[in-house]
């Protein structure tokens, strides 16, 4: 039986190596994904958990705040969050 510290170390090191390897591998989106508009990303990502929100639901400043909150729940990428929030602020 491994000790908890060993287990934690293994998990942390494995996770870090995975992150580093993926980062060095250039975690890049394909051209098709990069070209997606905010409206498209809004329709694809929000509905994974709930109905797609109406842009009129919040003010532009509120959308900035809601965007951060939602990113921390859904773990969308920063680029996706920025595009979705820009679309919802219009």
């Amino acid at each position: 039986m491994r000790t908890p510290i060993k287990k934690i170390a293994i998990i942390l090191i494995s996770g870090s190596l995975l992150m580093i390897s993926l980062t060095f591998d250039g975690c890049k989106a394909s051209q098709m994904v990069s070209n997606k508009t905010g409206a498209q990303l809004w329709s694809e990502n929000c509905q994974r958990c709930h109905n797609t929100p109406s842009p009129n639901s919040f003010s532009p400043e509120q959308w900035e705040t809601v965007g951060l909150h939602m990113q921390s729940r859904s773990l969308i990428t920063d680029e996706e969050r920025n595009k979705i929030v820009a679309f919802l602020k219009q």
Partner: protein
Amino acid sequence: MRQSQTLIKWMIFPLGFLISTNIARAQQTTTVDSALLERVSALEQQVANQKQGESHFMVAGLATFGFVANTTTTTSGGKIKTNSFPDMDHFEFSPLFLWRHGSKFLLEFEPSFDGTSLGVNWADVSYFVAPGLILRAGYLVTPFGTYSKRLAAGWIDKLPTDPTGVADYPPTTDFGFEAEGGFPIGSMKWNYDISLTNGLQLLPDGELQSAGVVDNNKNKTVTARLGLLPISNSSLEIGISGMFGTVGDANSPYENAKSQSYAADLNYVKLFNPILVNIKGQYNYTFVNSQNYINPLDLSVYTFDNKTTSGFAQVSIRPTGAGVTFVKNLELAFRYGKYVTPEKSLWGQKSDIIDISLDYWLTWRTVFKIGYQSDKSTSTAIENTGEEAKSESLFIQFAIQL
């Protein structure tokens, strides 16, 4: 000479008139300009007073309430009927306070009233460090599966109830630290979420509960989830989670007790025009290594295989492409759940739960649900083994995100 004097007089008069007229005009213009300037200055001050600061505060949150009628029949002959507006498991009023400091910091605080007590769902601070890295500290939802963190809110859940056991076992709100983020990989995406928290506490009867703000031992619990979205339109997400920690109190007979929990989750949402299909599922497994427990009824020592499993599979359909608005706003949801607690424990049971609900979406974040639940359970507890119970419930529920 006289003629030239007369000419000068005649020239002086119009010239004087012209000069005096221009002076008057100039004075008028100056008066108008200064009034305009004052107006512009006032407007500038007004704009300056209203300019956006780098901090922003807002209140969101949710409320859920309704009616539940229940009939429970047991093989020992008991039959109990209840109804209420509603019971504590189906009432919630939770304002969510969000403070944003620039574009990097977010403070979240969600108190919650469930009808009997005022608690806190989470209270944490997030730091958006860099693309793909969010750090969080405080009282947070640990990344075990996705139901507790993403799907439990009444205005998100398609059914009036939480899937039994999935949302609350093992407990997934804890004090600690978390790192998370999402990355693209070509046309796919992946995300990670890892937390280090005080962890769980093993009670003398064998149950697990959250240790709370003061840890019960020196070891911390690691919880981690990896998610993958293999399709470019993000319609499918699959995830695996693990939670590992020492759960026994320090300097107690349980100081070497450890728990291991694993979860697998799936989420698939796709429009097959005109029907939006939504499939979700999660399976939880929790195990505590072998221990001797104390029966609180007679203080005798007993032991059992401390293993708990729970899970659900859910499908809902909504005709979002229908021409009629009323039909477009309807959604039909079905869920099968299973919950198995440790055999020969004080609370051992096997439950099969079926939920069905017809929802009407008043807005994208406001829903009215009429649901039915059937819960058939068989006791595997150290006492009353084999006793069966059937519970049927009718729910009428309204949920809103504020």
